[in-house]
């Protein structure tokens, strides 16, 4: 069974918490996980990954947060072949903003454009909902497991 890489981009630490929650849910079902903050180095390693979950918030005017932006720019510049990668996508946002969850949509688009295959629904947590991101992370991770390629 491949390791599931859980890769997060964060501004205030909430996406990091969600990454931990997703890892816990997956480990509870017997998967090995590795958590890392998105970076240029992670972008370089991506072509060798088979399974990943991307977690990111949205910052400012629909932009990616601090740690995700260099990762994204490296993807666009280097254009690695990601046809061997299957990924899940979890976004954190606030529907009071028109750019609600632009961050995860931006990442999904870039990854898919490089050949990666998204599995499952894109989770989009809404801070305005009052529901805890942790709860959504755990329940969403459970649904993802049934879809992970053997």
């Amino acid at each position: 069974m491949s390791t599931i890489h859980i890769l997060f981009g964060t501004e205030s630490g909430n996406a990091e918490m969600v990454a931990d929650d997703i890892a816990a849910a997956l480990q509870g079902r017997g998967f090995e996980t590795e958590i890392a903050e998105l970076s240029e180095d992670v972008a370089a390693d991506l072509a060798d990954m088979e399974l990943a979950v991307f977690v990111t918030s949205t910052y400012g005017e629909g932009d990616l947060p601090e740690s995700a932006a260099p990762f994204y720019e490296t993807l666009l510049a280097e254009r690695p072949d990601l046809s061997g990668l299957s990924f899940g996508a979890f976004g954190l946002g606030d529907s009071v903003y028109e750019t609600f969850n632009n961050g995860i949509d931006t990442l999904r688009g870039a990854l898919s454009g490089l050949g990666a295959r998204q599995i499952g629904e894109t989770a989009k947590h809404d801070a305005a909902s009052g529901d805890l991101a942790s709860n959504l992370a755990s329940s969403w991770a459970a649904t993802l497991l049934d879809l992970v390629p053997a």
Partner: protein, 395 residues
């Protein structure tokens, strides 16, 4: 000019003592007859929830007064208080990574330890100050842990900040400028002295990181110092007011104190509702960098726009029975503007909320009843509120 252009009276008597003691009747009237109102001091005052949520966070809403006139708070000219993106982003991120939810779980242990030590030292029936002893001291300790600074002169810093903030009143009177400058100078002297000591005896806090970035040339001295002062002064006062109001609520409503103790699942919403009714900083002030229009009122670029937080927080269009405490509110009514919104929202919001919860939980779990043992006295301007004294007995 306003949504009701015939309204030319002064809807906001900022310096009137009755207004400062309870601005809500004035906010309510203004929201009803002129929800976007050009006040005689030359500011547009916006009192509706929807307008505040939509417009206060727009990228064009600058925190920088374009008049360029020297102001005592230029002392913080290199911090998030005085910058817009992208310069703001660089400075904000310095604090963000020290205030993540994961790290806050550790810091709040300092808050709990500090409070429990204070409570352990109380004799039965002893009068304790709910604001100072239960609110300010433990939260200041937590901030000092984050920065890795010694406790220092807690009361001196508290009242120096109060004095410094007086200049932010809409219409500060005579002598206020000098008082504010003295407050700022005190806070800067205290903090700079602690930073100089830290250079000789480094630690592992945020203040150390700022000093390290300064020594590497990644921050100027003013950036490092001003950011440290901003955090050092902010740890106690803001959560302490909400904690004091929570303790008064426990005294007035023992049923709510029991709910807090017996139903941990309601605590998050309880604290949110407490912050809705009891903002500490009372006005969000912004300066649009382009012409905007709010509810038909044209606001030119460079204007001063004020969003009184308490007005948005009690908008009857959103909140049923807005003046009543109800922790079961949902949807838009479960949100409020107490920590502001957008780029300049409070960097300490998560830290404050966790601490307020932790402190109220300890009180609710350790005690059966809160008694108000003397008249609570608040100090207020149109811009800020704090307690002078909140005498309580914990039974």
């Amino acid at each position: 000019m306003s949504v009701a252009p015939e309204v030319t009276e002064n809807l906001f008597p900022w310096n009137d003592e009755e207004f400062q003691a309870n601005p809500y009747p004035w906010y309510e009237r203004a929201r009803r007859i002129a929800p976007v109102h050009y006040a005689e001091e030359g500011a547009f005052v916006v009192t509706g929830y929807d307008e505040a949520m939509q417009y206060a966070k727009l990228p064009c809403m600058s925190i920088v007064d374009p008049s360029g006139e020297p102001h005592p708070w230029d002392a913080f000219g290199n911090t998030v208080l005085s910058l817009d993106p992208p310069e703001h982003t660089r400075m904000r991120r310095l604090a963000n990574k020290w205030l993540t939810p994961k790290l806050i779980k550790g810091y709040v242990e300092t808050t709990r330890t500090s409070l429990n030590e204070i409570l352990d030292g109380l004799a039965p029936g002893q009068v304790v100050d709910g604001h100072h002893d239960i609110g300010v001291l433990p939260t200041h300790d937590a901030m000092c842990r984050i920065l890795d600074l010694p406790k220092g002169d807690v009361d001196g810093m508290f009242w120096a900040l109060w004095d410094a903030m007086l200049i932010h009143s809409t219409d500060p009177g005579e002598g206020i400028r000098e008082k504010a400058i003295a407050g700022l100078e005190f806070m800067f002297e205290q903090t700079e002295r602690l930073l100089e000591e830290k250079k000789r005896n480094p630690g592992n806090g945020l203040a150390d990181e700022l000093l390290q970035l300064y020594s590497q040339g990644d921050l100027t001295w003013r950036e490092a110092l001003e950011t440290t002062v901003n955090l050092h002064m902010s740890g106690g006062p803001n959560p302490a007011y909400v904690i004091g109001r929570g303790l008064e609520l426990f005294a007035e409503r023992p049923d709510l104190m029991r709910d807090y103790r017996d139903k941990p699942e309601i605590r998050s919403k309880f604290v949110d509702e407490l912050t809705r009714l009891n903002p500490v900083e009372l006005i969000i002030t912004r300066f649009p960098t382009e012409d905007i229009e709010i509810r038909g009122v044209k606001i030119p670029a460079g204007s001063c726009v004020k969003f009184p937080i308490g007005a948005a927080n009690r908008d009857p269009a959103v909140y049923d029975n807005p003046n009543e405490f109800d922790y079961t509110r949902t949807g838009d009514a479960a949100r409020n503007l107490t920590f502001s919104i957008g780029t300049h929202n409070c960097a300490g919001k998560a830290l404050s909320l966790v601490q307020i919860d932790a402190i109220l939980a300890i009180i609710a779990e350790r005690y059966k009843r809160v008694e108000i043992a003397g008249e609570p006295i608040e100090v207020r301007t149109d811009r800020l509120v704090a307690y002078e004294t909140l005498p309580l007995i914990l039974h």
